[in-house]
Amino acid sequence: MPYVEAKNLFAIFEHEATTSKISEDVLFYCTQRGLSQEEAVGLVLNGFVKDVLQQLPMEFAVEAQKLISIFLEGSVG
């Protein structure tokens, strides 16, 4: 996977996750159902990433997984 594409992918995750997908309303919904703030962020981000991954061709999967673990580490907390 070329570097530039990996970078783009990262940018997409970051953009989507910070703007639309993980809105305050979604976090509130999760916490109101019993999840802590941290659990809620983790669950929603993981779900979002899965959603994006499913739309990628197979050959990207491994690289994408690596990126995601980095991304998730940086985002939670």
């Binding site: 997908k21 809105s23 305050e24 309303d25 979604v26 509130f28 919904y29 999760c30 916490t31 109101q32 159902r33 019993g34 999840l35 802590s36 703030q37 659990e39 669950l43 929603v44 993981n46 779900g47 979002f48 990433v49 899965k50 959603d51 994006v52």
Partner: protein
Amino acid sequence: MSWLEVKDLKVRVEDREILHGLTLTVNPGEVHAIMGPNGSGKSTLSHVIAGKPGYEVTDGQILFRGEDLLEMEPDERAAKGVFPAFQYPVEIPGVATMNFLRTALNAQRKARGESEFSKPDFLKKVREVAKSLNIPQDMLKRGVNAGFSGGEKKRNEILQMALFEPAVCILDEMDSGLDIDALRIAADGVNALRSPHRAMIVITHYQRLLNYIVPNVVHVMSKGRVVKSGDQQLALELETAGYAQFEDVA
């Protein structure tokens, strides 16, 4: 002791006062209906009870079984048994409903010091509850409310209510968007949850729902206050006379 006691509650949203001193007491075993015109503050009340950010409580209090609810985080309220079924549930794509439900239920149980459900045990439980509400299994595999129809979202809220077995339930327009059969099934589900250890608030615009879920008390809300309370007869009167008679009171 009351399960829910809202006392002279004043709430602001973005510097505008929406609730102007609302008082409401719900005892265990009771079902209260709240009716009122659009914008009278019904959903605002539900959100404040749930702990949604963005609402500033400037006066009054909310007691849940004698405890100060406003001091608690939303997840603490959930674990204690406060459950609002939202008028507009959000979508969480990528998070399978089944996974979400198990994570949420186990988080609540953990907070209460109860044992967590194993995957198989949970599966058994959720399937039972879904079946009783006529919710198809494949809905549970999809993302939380992702691409659900309006009615499916409402059913998913009722499913969660049945699963979490909360002490106080606030159903915000659960009847809007439900077809006739789905309404009957959802109402049966709600009625099955009526218990001496549970209190419910049912927010609706339509008297019809109250034929299915017969309330102990009916309140009329207007402009951020409860302006009249009565029995089911009050809902019937509203159906014919509308809300004009309450304009002056509020």
